[in-house]
Symmetry: C2
Subunit: 148 residues, 2 copies
DNA sequence: CTTGACCTTCCCATCACGGGAAGCTTTAGG
DNA sequence: CCTAAAGCTTCCCGTGATGGGAAGGTCAAG
């Protein structure tokens, strides 16, 4: 199985498979004499695992830990659960930040006439509101993309 | 007013002020003979506007548009409102994606014993669940960071 | 006159990819 | 058998919005 087939079978692009190999997330497969990567069913299985972890918002590093837990047949399920719950907490924190933005912006939009006149509390607020001190804009970890 | 004072007064780091200038988001200020940037009160005002727009999850490019709307005294408030509502829609879409992750992961975690035994439906599902086709992982636009 | 705080530009790293070039290999068709 | 296309290889660049830091100039206080 060449990289193209593995990509189709796993849903991970060939580009990403090579990338995951380069950062040591997945193992380097055997090669043909010509240098082509050759994948087995197990490799596709691993790639699907990675893809699903990414879809759940786990970063590459977190996915690496999940893979280690997966391969460690003797780990306690409590460890995995704690990991998952911590991640849920992070996701919820980001949701909270986004909801705060929606709330503020919704508030402003609500007070905007939305007609042909130029007065607009949205821009006025952006221009004049006090600078909030510890304003939070969340990290990139576990972030989410379109067109997966 | 040097860049350091402008940074303190606006809450935008000196590094970012130079960056915003380099991409044409803000205008290049006058310089002293020695090459130091000199800012006026209006510049700080603009920087605060930018910071607040960013805090509300607007990307740099969206912030550029907001600045143009702000400076255009004759624009209709309806234009601004539509812009804000569209952005709210995008934020809500991202919230929805994150909530879907939380839901799935919460489901899995709920079914995990979380004890000393190794069986764990979380990892089992990651390993065996079917590959979802159009899985969505959201874009980087308007993303949010920690430690603002 | 020195020290240290501030400023300047420039380059590098992040994170998780995608695009594309240049060049080799394999496969299918005539 | 030869050719064209598809597929593979590596390598480099760009993304968005920052932070870090080096190397060097400037300014104000002691």
């Amino acid at each position: 199985m060449n990289i193209g087939q593995a990509a189709t079978a796993s849903g991970v692009s060939a580009k990403m498979i090579r990338y995951y190999e380069s950062i040591g997330l997945i193992e380097a497969p055997v090669r043909t004499e010509a240098g082509y990567r050759v994948y087995a069913g197990d490799d596709v299985h691993t790639l699907r695992f990675v893809k699903r972890a990414r879809n759940l918002g786990f970063s590459i590093e977190e996915t690496r830990e999940l893979l280690a837990l997966w391969r460690d047949k003797s780990r306690a399920s409590a460890d995995v659960k704690a990991f998952a719950l911590r991640h849920i907490g992070e996701l919820e924190a980001r949701i909270g930040e986004l909801q705060a933005m929606v709330k503020t912006l919704g508030h402003l939009a609500h007070h905007c006439h939305g007609d042909g006149r130029p007065d607009c509390p949205i821009l006025e607020d952006l221009a004049d509101a006090p600078v909030r001190q510890g304003a939070v804009r969340a990290g990139s970890r576990g972030r989410v993309r379109h067109h997966a």
